[in-house]
Amino acid sequence: MKRTYRFMLLLYPRGHRDRFAEEMAGVFEEARNERHYQGWVWYVRFTFSEIAGLIGGAASAWVDRRPVPEAPVASTSQQSLPQEIVEAQEQVDRNIAGMVHAISHHDYQGARRYSDEERRARDVLQLVRQKYGITG
C-alpha cells in the first residue's frame, strides 16, 4: 500500500512532489496504521478516500500555476545570506505587513494590491535564491 501511495504521488507536478511528497507519505503512513486497527470496512473506506484525494489533489496542483512555497531553510541564518536575498526577503515582508495593515483597516482593494505585490516579490526572492544556489 505504501508503495502504491508513493507511486500515485507521481501524478503530482514535480515542484509539489519535491516539497510535499515525503511529508504526505509520512502522514499517510500514520493514518493507515490507525485505520488498519479499526477493521477492514474502515480500511477500505480510507483507501478509496485516499485514492480520490490524490487524484483530485494532483489535478488541482496541475491547475495551480503559482510557484510551490519553499520549505524552510533550517540552518541558514539571516546574517549569513547575501545582501540581495536579504533585500528581496525584506520586500516580501514589507508587502505582507502592508497587506495586514490594509485588512485591519478594511481596505480590501489595498490588501489585494499588496497581495499581488507580495507574490511578485516572492517570485523575485525565489529567482535570487536560485541565483545563489539556495533551494528549499
Partner: protein, 107 residues
C-alpha cells in the same frame, strides 16, 4: 470588497491551527475531532489546502527542534488569523439571522 467565504477544509485547518502549531497527522486528527467525526480529510485534500494556504501567506512552516521532513509543523500567520476571524464573524451573523427567522416562523 467582500472577502470570499472559505472552503470547509480551509476553515477547519485554520481553526485547528488557531490555538497551536500542528503537523499534518495532528491536523487530520484534530479536524476529525472538531467536526465530531464527520470530516475525515484525505492527505491529498489536506496538502492541497496547505499548499494554497502557504502560497497565500495564511500559514507558515513552524520549525521545531525535532522536526524531520515528514513532520513539518505549521502555524497561523497574522493574515491567516485575521481571515479566520473575519470568516467566524460572517458565520456568526448568518447564524443569528437564521435563528431569528426560525423563531419568527414558529410564532
Amino acid at each position: 470588497m467582500e472577502a470570499k467565504p472559505l472552503t470547509e477544509p480551509v476553515l477547519l485547518i485554520l481553526t485547528s491551527l488557531a490555538n497551536q502549531p500542528r503537523h499534518g497527522y495532528a491536523l487530520l486528527k484534530d479536524i476529525e475531532g472538531l467536526s465530531g467525526g464527520r470530516v475525515r480529510m484525505s492527505t491529498g485534500t489536506l496538502f492541497g489546502a496547505l499548499r494554497r494556504l502557504l502560497e497565500d501567506g495564511w500559514i507558515e512552516p513552524f520549525e521545531q527542534m525535532d522536526t524531520s521532513r515528514q513532520k513539518q509543523a505549521y502555524r497561523l500567520t497574522t493574515v491567516g488569523r485575521r481571515q479566520l476571524q473575519m470568516e467566524l464573524d460572517r458565520m456568526r451573523q448568518l447564524t443569528r439571522a437564521g435563528f431569528a427567522r426560525l423563531r419568527a416562523s414558529e410564532v
